[in-house]
């Protein structure tokens, strides 16, 4: 029962992150969305790894690796956002602003 709760929460978090990634334009918000998708996915994975009689250590190790990889990607993304804003004064991509019809 508890595992199902965690797995479905993970699934919902993935969906939530996908929504944020597509609907929000500020790049920091999109980075948070990526992290939500990742952590939802890991939660789902963790729940699947806990179904057997003993807790499977392989998903746990993969998740720790995944968390570190996600941090690396987030760090590079955050660095890019700041550098982009230094050059252009904006923290969203130009074509997205055009699509919105206004610049923040």
């Amino acid at each position: 029962m508890s595992l199902t709760i965690f797995a479905l929460t993970g699934a919902a978090l993935i969906g939530l992150g996908v929504y944020g990634l597509l609907a929000r334009l500020h790049l920091l918000r999109r980075i948070i969305a990526f992290n939500l998708i990742g952590s939802g996915l890991f939660l789902f994975f963790g729940a699947t790894g806990a179904r057997g009689e003993i807790l499977d250590p392989i998903p746990q190790a993969l998740i720790i690796t995944g968390i570190v990889v996600a941090l690396s990607a987030s760090a590079l993304a955050v660095g890019l956002v700041v550098a982009l804003a230094q050059g252009s004064g904006r923290a969203s991509l130009p074509e997205d602003e055009d699509a919105e019809g206004r610049a923040p």
């Binding site: 709760i5 929504y19 500020h26 920091l28 918000r29 969203s92």
Partner: protein, 308 residues
């Protein structure tokens, strides 16, 4: 009772996650995300995955949160922190809902679990914590490449520096008053933090902990010490810091190559040597992880941020 607790926890996780996506302002989103990470860490503890709980709290929530907040501060100074208003976006909602539903379906469609049988492998792994055994022995190649991913991200972040700033110290300057609270905190924390960080690495061999979790604690200690003015932020040109960055991967790769040269095979740890080898690799990795993480948070060399 326990299902009710998990249900409440998950409702909280979802609510805070929703707030980080739908709420007003990027700053709030980052704060909610940090809270979210801590709640997820509790979730991991509920699932019995204590190593993951530590990693999520330290890295997923803590460090990612600090990165986001630091970036928000810089964006505010550049007047790029404001966010255009967001309306409800139906196509995005359909996509998100579809993804969530397919994972929900997949959960119920999964066949009975088939985890690999580790009973004969674990006693030969050299460490008692099965997660550490997977990370540093069974799937050591993953972990080696992962430590290099972290380093690649740092080199990438450095490439964001302005050319004129390349010789400047890393990150924006913080000036703590020498008699201020932060300075005293910065003096008290390092000894305690150092012991705790090292303990986490040591304990990781047999119980909860590990190089990444311990390295994160050490990185945090270093950052507090730098913010308190006890330690100076390094420059790219300082060779000792760059050597510390590569130490862990070099020792890891070197031990793998030693296995190949001695005939045991690439990344193979003979059972008798497994424990000391893993501890050596973890010690070196911890140093590199701690330095890399701290420098990632500091950001690229930046001269322009001089401020009181």
């Amino acid at each position: 009772m326990s299902a009710a607790l998990d249900l409440a926890l998950c409702a909280l996780i979802l609510g805070v996650g929703l707030a980080s996506m739908a709420g007003r302002g990027v700053f709030r989103a980052a704060i909610f995300f940090i809270t979210y990470g801590l709640l997820v860490a509790i979730g991991w503890a509920r699932l019995g995955a204590y190593d993951v709980a530590l990693a999520e709290a330290a890295i997923g929530s803590g460090l990612t949160g600090v990165l986001l907040l630091a970036a928000h501060g810089r964006l505010r100074r550049l007047r790029a922190a404001a966010e255009s208003l967001s309306r409800f976006n139906l196509p995005a909602a359909i996509a998100g809902g579809g993804v969530a539903l397919s994972f929900g379906w997949a959960w119920f469609a999964l066949p009975v679990p088939r985890a690999p049988d580790l009973t004969y492998a674990l006693p030969q792994a050299g460490v008692g914590n099965p997660v550490t055994a997977v990370l540093l022995n069974f799937r050591a190649w993953d972990t080696l490449v992962e430590s290099i991913v972290l380093l690649a991200a740092l080199i990438g972040v450095w490439m964001m520096a302005r050319d004129a700033d390349w010789d400047a110290p890393l990150g924006l300057r913080y000036h703590a008053r020498p008699s201020g609270v932060l300075a005293s905190f910065g003096r008290i924390l390092p000894p305690v933090g150092l012991i705790f960080g090292v303990y986490l690495v040591w304990a990781g061999a047999e119980s909860t902990g590990g190089a990444f979790q311990g390295g994160t604690v050490l990185a945090a200690v270093g950052l507090v010490a730098m913010m308190a003015g006890i330690m100076r932020p390094p420059r790219v040109a300082q060779g000792a810091w760059r050597a510390a960055l590569v130490l862990g991967p070099v020792v890891f790769l070197g031990s793998g190559l030693a296995g190949a040269a001695l005939g045991a095979g690439f990344l193979t740890l003979p059972e008798a040597l497994a424990k000391p080898a893993i501890l050596t690799i973890e010690a070196a990795l911890t140093v590199s992880i701690a330095v890399t993480l701290a420098l990632l948070v500091l950001g690229p060399p930046d001269e322009g941020g001089q401020q009181a």
